[in-house]
Subunit: 461 residues, 2 copies
C-alpha cells in the first residue's frame, strides 16, 4: 500500500527516471530507512542505482557509533553501497558562527553533493514525510511567510533533490519499518531545530487534532499542494514579465518603467526579487518593506531619487527606468552658470527655476513683505558681477559660526547626493552670497549701514 | 493613535468616501462600540451619516434587554440614530434547520440590508478586528482552505461591507473603550462559532505566542495581506481567461477546449469555479476532487464522456468543448445501417470499425482459433439479408434466460447512455444476431446440426 503510494508520488512529480543514480541521505531513523527499503525494491523495476550517505555528526557519542554500525549492516543486507562520514559538527558550527541546525544542514548537503559526484549520481533522495510537510508549513505560518513559503517542502528541486515519501504519514512509515523488520534507530537529538519542531510535532498538532480537526495534517498538506499550483503560476508569469521589462547586466538590472508600471503588484514584487537575486544571488535578506520602498520609486515624485538597500544594493529612479545595482551611480552632473542682472530676471532652464532680482533702497526693502523664497543682500558689499551656478568642489560659505564647506552644509541639510548639483549657488567675484534659499552668507548681510539692497527671489516654473 | 491608524486603513482601502451613509452593526461589545465612536468622530470630518443597527437574538434573556438599553443610551449620547430589532433566532434556526451561528449571521445581514434601504445608506460597517482576522485564518488553515480562504476577512466587499478596524488589535480596542469611558457590554454567548473561536482566542493563540512567536498575530495578518495581492492577481487573470474561453448561456457554460487546454492549472481551476458559479450561483459545494475530475475531461480519452456533479450539474466532454450545465444533454445520435455481404467486409465509418464476414464449413470453423472479437453463427438459421445498424427503440435479443430488451442489456453492462448508439447491432429479417461483441442471440447459435458457419469479426480501425 505505501509502496504503491510512493510509486504514485514518483510518477506524479516525475521524481525518478529510468537509469537514475540516486544518493540517499540515510540518518538511520524510520523515514530514511523506509525510503532506503523502497528504493531498494525499485532498483530493478526502475533500473536505478542507489547509494546511501550517512553523516556522523559526532554529537551523540556512542549512540552515533551504533548508528553507523546499523547503517553499514542494513545496507550490506540490501546490497547497497553506503558511505559514512564523521564530521565534528559542533566544532564546525562554532568556527563558522552558525547554529547547530544550520551547520549540520550545510555539512549534510555538502556531503551528499560530494558522494553524488564520487558515484556519478544525478539525484539526492531525502526522507521527508507528510508530517514534516505539515509541521514546516505551520512553523512558517507562525513565524511569518508568503505564498512562496506556504508551498512547503518541494517534491523535487532543480531536478536533483527528490522527496519520494513526502505523501506518507509518519505512522505509516513506522508500520512499514515494523512490517519489514527494519528496526530503524531513533535519533533523540533530531538536529533540525530540536525545540520548535518537537513542540509542533508533540504538542501543537495533537492539540489541533483533538480540538479542531482530526485530519489537520491532511488539510494543511492539501492546502500546500493547491498553493503550489497557484504559486507556480504567478512565478511563471512573473518570470516572463521579468524578461520583458528588465535588462540584465553583470551587477545591475535595469527595469523599464512604462511596461513595469502597468503590471500587478503581485508581479512587481516578484520582478524586484528576481532582479535582486540576479545581482546578489539570494533575496533572504530582503524584507517586504524594502520591496514596498522600491515599488514606490515609480511615482513621478521620486524622479532621480535613490534608495539604500541592505547588502550594498542601491535602487535608482531615473526618467524611464529603475536601476538596481551594487554600484553607486553618480548622477549626471547638472552644470550651469549665468550672469545675473541687478534688475530683471534670469531663467535657469536646468532647474526649471527663475531668479528675479531687484535693486532697491533700504527703506523700500523694509516696507515690503518678504516671503521665504526671497533673500536680501547689502548691495554695496557685492564685488563685481553676480553669477548663479551649480556648486563646485571646494565651495565655501561664511556662516555665523565661521567658514563652512558647502559639501558639509549639504550633509547637514540631508540633501541627497544626486540633488546637490540642483542647488543654485550665487556668487560675486569674491565669494558665495547664498546656497539656494537654504543659507545666506554673513559677508553680505544687511546691517545698520546698509543703503541699497539687492533682493533675489527664487521662483519655480 | 488608534484613530489615526483607522484613518490610515480607511484611506488605504478607500473604505469611506465623502457623503457616505453608513449602517453600523452594533452588538454592544468592545469592537462595535469602538467603531461607533470612531465613526462618530469622523462624521463631520468626512461628511458622513451613521446609523446603528442592533439585533436582539433573544438568546440571552434579561442580558439582551440590558444590551438594547445600553445601545439606545450610547447612541443617544452621541446623537446617532439607532435601530433595535428583536428576532427569535433559535426558533428561526430550528425552522430553517441551520446552526445558531449560520442563522444569526443570515438574520443579522438581512437586518443590516433592511436598515440600509430604510435609511437610504450605501455602506454597512462591521467591527471585525486584527485578532478576528488572525483567528479566522488559523481556523481555515486547520479546517482546510486554499488561496481564496487565506485572504481572510476583507477590508471591503462589493464596495458595500466595510471593516475599518480590521488593522486594530483587540487590546488596543479595549484600551480605546476605556479611555473614552464607553463601557461596552461583554457578550458571553458570542454567537460566532462559540466553541472553536474561543478555543483559538483563549488557548491556541496564547500558546503560539508563548512557544513560537510573540508576534504571531502580526505574522499571520501580514501573510494574509500579502496573499490578498497574489490572490487578486490570479483572480483577475482567471476572470480575463474565463471571458476568453467561455460562452455563457442561461443555465450552461461552454468552455472552448483548444484555448482552455493551454492555460495553467491555477487558472483552469478558477475558470471551472466561475462557470459553476454562473450556473448555480455559488461553488461552496464543489470539492477540489470535482474540479480535478472536470480538468481530466480534457484528455482525448474522455471524448463524449459525461460527469455527474453535485446539485444536478453535468459536465460533458465534446469534440472541442466542455459543457457545464444543469440540463442533461442527449448526445447526437449516431445513426447508421449497412448491408453485410456473406463474404467480405464492410466499413462502419461512424464507428471507425470494420466488420469482416466469412462463410465456412463447420469443420473449418472448428479448426481455426477464434479471438474475442469474432463470433460464429449458424448460417442456415439466418433468414434473408444481414444488416449492421445502430440500436433502435424496442430492440430485443433472445438470450439464454429469455428475450431481453437491448436497453436493459446496456444498463446491465453499464454502458453509458452516450455510448449506446455506438454499439453495432447485427440483424437478419427476423431478429437480432448479436449486440456488438457483448452478447450473441440464442436463436443463431452453432449446435450439433450446424453445417455452415458465418464468422463475423469486429476490427477497430
Amino acid at each position: 500500500m505505501i509502496f504503491e503510494k510512493v510509486l504514485g508520488t514518483i510518477n506524479k512529480y516525475n521524481l525518478i527516471e529510468d537509469g537514475d543514480k540516486i544518493v540517499l541521505g540515510l540518518s538511520g531513523g524510520p523515514d530514511s530507512v523506509c525510503l532506503l527499503h523502497i528504493l531498494y525494491r525499485l532498483k530493478e523495476k526502475m533500473n536505478i542505482e542507489v547509494y546511501a550517505a550517512h553523516l556522523n555528526h559526532q554529537i551523540r557519542g556512542l549512540e552515533a557509533q551504533k548508528d553507523a554500525l546499523y547503517i553499514s549492516q542494513i545496507c550490506e543486507d540490501l546490497g547497497i553501497t553506503s558511505f559514512v562520514k564523521a564530521i565534528n559538527v559542533p566544532e564546525y558550527c562554532k568556527e563558522q558562527g552558525v547554529s547547530l541546525e544550520e551547520g549540520a544542514r550545510t555539512l549534510r548537503y555538502e556531503m551528499f553533493e560530494e558522494i553524488k559526484q564520487k558515484t556519478k549520481s544525478n539525484k539526492i533522495a531525502i526522507g521527508h514525510n507528510r508530517n514534516d510537510q505539515a509541521e514546516t508549513v505551520l512553523m512558517r505560518i507562525m513565524r511569518g511567510t508568503g505564498l512562496q513559503g506556504l508551498r512547503g517542502i518541494e517534491y523535487i528541486r532543480d531536478n536533483k533533490i527528490i522527496r519520494p515519501i513526502l505523501d506518507i504519514e509518519r505512522s505509516e512509515i513506522e508500520a512499514y519499518c515494523e512490517k519489514y523488520e527494519l528496526n530503524p534507530r531513533i535519533d533523540k537529538t533530531n538536529l533540525e531545530s530540536i525545540y520548535t519542531r518537537n513542540k509542533i510535532r508533540l504538542e501543537l498538532i495533537p492539540y489541533m487534532k483533538d480540538n479542531f480537526n482530526p485530519n489537520v495534517i491532511e488539510s494543511i498538506v492539501r492546502m500546500t499542494n493547491s498553493l503550489k499550483s497557484d504559486s507556480d503560476y504567478i512565478d511563471l508569469e512573473a518570470e516572463r514579465s521579468f524578461k520583458e521589462v528588465s535588462t540584465l547586466k553583470e551587477d545591475s538590472v535595469e527595469i523599464s518603467l512604462p511596461k513595469y508600471s502597468n503590471l500587478h503588484n503581485a508581479i512587481k514584487v516578484r520582478i524586484l526579487r528576481s532582479a535582486i537575486k540576479h545581482i546578489i544571488g539570494d533575496t533572504n535578506f530582503v524584507d517586504q518593506k524594502h520591496i514596498e520602498d522600491i515599488i514606490e520609486l515609480e511615482c513621478e515624485s521620486k524622479l532621480n531619487k535613490m534608495l539604500n538597500l541592505p547588502r550594498g544594493i542601491f535602487a535608482y529612479r531615473r526618467k524611464n527606468i529603475i536601476i538596481l545595482t551594487t554600484k553607486e551611480i553618480v548622477s549626471e552632473e547638472i552644470d550651469f552658470c549665468y550672469n545675473i542682472p541687478s534688475n530683471g530676471f534670469i531663467k535657469i532652464k536646468e532647474l526649471n527655476l527663475v531668479l528675479e532680482t531687484q535693486k532697491m533702497s533700504i527703506d523700500r526693502y523694509k516696507s515690503i513683505k518678504l516671503d521665504k523664497t526671497s533673500k536680501g543682500f547689502d548691495f554695496d558689499k557685492i564685488k563685481g558681477g553676480i553669477v548663479v551656478r551649480s556648486r563646485k568642489q571646494g565651495d565655501k560659505i561664511k556662516l555665523a559660526g565661521g567658514s563652512k564647506k558647502v559639501k558639509d552644509l549639504f550633509i547637514d541639510l540631508k540633501i541627497p547626493r544626486e540633488d546637490r548639483c540642483k542647488v543654485p549657488v550665487i556668487t560675486d567675484d569674491e565669494g558665495i552670497l547664498c546656497v539656494g534659499d537654504y543659507k545666506t552668507s554673513e559677508n553680505y548681510k544687511i546691517d545698520s549701514e546698509t543703503k541699497e539692497v539687492l533682493k533675489i527671489s527664487f521662483k519655480k516654473l
